[in-house]
Symmetry: C2
Subunit: 148 residues, 2 copies
Amino acid sequence: MVDLAPSGVTLGPLDDIVGYLLRRAQIAVFEDFGRRFEALDLTPAQFSTLVVIAETPGLRQSDVAAALGVQPPNFVALINEMERRGLVERLRSGEDRRAYALRLSKAGAALLGRARDAQAEQEQAIRTLIGEPERRRLMQTLRRLSGI
Amino acid sequence: MVDLAPSGVTLGPLDDIVGYLLRRAQIAVFEDFGRRFEALDLTPAQFSTLVVIAETPGLRQSDVAAALGVQPPNFVALINEMERRGLVERLRSGEDRRAYALRLSKAGAALLGRARDAQAEQEQAIRTLIGEPERRRLMQTLRRLSGI
DNA sequence: TATTGTTATACTCTATAACTATA
DNA sequence: TATAGTTATAGAGTATAACAATA
């Protein structure tokens, strides 16, 4: 006969561990992203791909994949889908005919415009929650933490 | 004939998006965790499970799973593996014979001790990187961000 | 020989439906 | 009829090996 503990669970020490809190916050923010981007039908990976291509049109697939930390084989399916939807164009390079130069289509640029708006709204929600000075401070700290 | 852009990729606006920086920092911190916990053979999910059970011995599986945000079916395999390794004990409850009361074994408590040391070292590395006041401020902000 | 993009594949995480044994 | 734990399964995300075309 063993007794069960009453179900009032406490996370205890977990609530003072940066990695744990980082994970929980990341999940919450990504779920919020999912709700905001549902109508646009864009995942975080697709959104960041559009942003990088818009920033530097003509990049090779491998450069974009490396910048985003995606393995080249996994990036193929991601670009296939966005090309199928008419958001991204693959253009064979004249200099190196193995490589594609990636560009946004008109539709891709238009969708990215709407996506940036949705993204700005999320950033505004974060500002409302923690304040702008704290948001800037958080971003600075997160950049440093990436170098652990 | 299409020109490729020179491969100097810039992430552009992504570097000012909290969600993106959160994800990058979380990946970096979890990779660091992976290196530190390699010898202990513990994943973040296993470590947090040990912590919660140690904090409140006798909890049911479903309570621990809910506290950690793991679906009950996925939690079964996690507990199976830790029971197989002799770290966790499943004890049939007398009050409710459907439920298990979870406890750490001696070996589980010992391994958790070593894991807490490894975890404290990671926390110290973070202190070295960003300073203790900033670490406390970060944790507070992350807790608030989880409520987005 | 090396590199770009690709295919095939496998492994981890996560989510849902449906079962069993108890309540 | 409902709940605790379980099984089966399917979908993402991520990783590596090996190939064709081109350099």
